[in-house]
């Protein structure tokens, strides 16, 4: 993933569902983002080490490395405090959402989502 010279913001979508990644990509591209995809936290972290994204749309439950572990490791990376991280999960329990925010997530989307919700949350996170 190479940062766009024209200043297009890059969003890394980390989700083990190909369908979710595809839907998210379409929404994000419509909003003007460049998009990269990873199928789990470990793959996502490898992406981030190559080129730190501006935004991460992050699933919680994934094989290999889940979203919380990814977030902790991302924040410990050089430059890893910079990306806005928006969790995007089926978890809708407020205690779990609080846990994600306490861990350093900037925003939280409860699945299922649509374009309006993604736009609203990215705006609240200061990404739009």
């Amino acid at each position: 993933m190479v940062k766009d010279p024209e200043g297009v913001k890059l969003c890394l979508v980390v989700d083990d569902s190909r369908v979710v990644r595809k839907v998210a990509r379409r929404i994000l591209e419509d909003l003007g983002f460049g998009v990269a995809e990873a199928a789990d936290g470990a793959e996502g972290l490898a992406w981030a080490r190559t080129a730190m994204p501006d935004v991460v749309l992050l699933d919680w439950h994934m094989p290999v490395m889940n979203g919380m572990e990814f977030l902790r490791r991302l924040r410990a990376e050089p430059g890893g405090q910079a990306p806005k991280v928006v969790f995007c999960s089926v978890e809708s329990d407020l205690d779990r959402i609080r846990e994600a925010l306490d861990e350093g997530a900037n925003e939280y989307i409860m699945k299922p989502f649509d374009g309006d919700i993604v736009a609203s949350k990215l705006m609240l996170a200061g990404c739009l």
Binding site: I97, M110, F113, I117, S120, K121, L124
Partner: protein
């Protein structure tokens, strides 16, 4: 729906609530009246409108009119509006009313997201030295009931509301989220038809009326503006929807939705 059905609904909407309803918009009419017809036990929208026509019952007439009134709203819709209210308007009103009460009215509050957004902002940044009275009204009893309950779906709490505010101000339910009783108790509710005499409501320091202006007939629009201006305390602020104007009030230089009443009028 027959053309006669659509014409009747448009006529009643204009007559009772000043609402501009285009009888040619078949889909819109069917879409809004369908749930009402089902709720009232009719097999079709046509049957429902026939009953509205034949029975001449106020309850049925209002069910049709309320369905045609706009209720679109979201938490913190247009964040700049809330930013200006909290950072500038409320501190100014608090200085003027020091030791007293600032009265706020959300007219046409829909299902309550706007007034609760204000309640959240007030709880997070309370204006110093004044009590705040919040009042919200809508034409639709059903929307007011939902607003008072403070229960919102997963979809609704994700439009405009930050996750930080969600966990701070809401509790989870099996199917949705409920606003904390503390915030719900900050607001008093009443059904109000903005076309009627509003003098019984008293005067307000801040009035938000952000939905209906473009949805009104040409005759109803000036009446609404006159009613709202009449309900505005001297030096008070009126916040309208995008593109709406309030001749007779002073537009704010930094935001097109804000209009202030002359302070000097208080002494007159």
């Amino acid at each position: 729906m027959t053309p006669q059905d659509r014409a009747l609904v448009a006529e009643l909407s204009a007559e009772r609530a000043g609402l501009k309803v285009d009888p040619e918009k078949v889909y819109l009419l069917e879409n809004r009246l369908g749930p009402v017809a089902r709720r009232e036990g009719f097999a079709s929208v046509h049957d429902f409108v026939c009953a509205v026509r034949d029975r001449d019952e106020e309850r049925l007439i209002w069910a049709a009119v309320e369905a045609m009134s706009p209720g679109e709203t979201a938490f913190f819709r247009d964040p700049q509006v809330f930013g200006k209210i909290v950072a500038e308007v409320l501190p100014e009103l608090a200085r003027r009313r020091e030791g007293g009460t600032v009265r706020i009215w959300c007219a046409a509050c829909g299902t309550g997201q706007e007034v609760y957004s204000l309640a959240m902002a007030l709880e997070e940044t309370p204006p110093a030295g004044v009590a705040v009275e919040m009042f919200a009204s809508d034409l639709s009893e059903r929307r007011l009931e939902k607003a008072q309950a403070g229960v919102y779906s997963q979809f609704e709490v994700q439009r405009g509301l930050s996750a930080h505010r969600l966990v701070r101000h809401f509790e989870g339910l099996e199917d949705g989220f409920v606003l904390s009783p503390r915030l719900r108790q900050m607001v008093r509710w009443r059904r109000v038809n903005l076309m009627e005499d509003l003098s019984r409501l008293g005067r307000f320091d801040l009035i938000l009326c952000r939905n209906p202006m473009g949805q009104l007939t040409d005759e109803a629009r000036p009446r609404l503006l006159a009613n709202l201006q009449g309900a505005l305390a001297p030096g008070g602020w009126l916040v309208l929807g995008p593109g709406d104007q309030a001749p007779g009030l002073n537009p704010a230089s930094d935001h097109p939705a804000f209009f202030s009443a002359a302070v000097a009028r208080a002494a007159a």
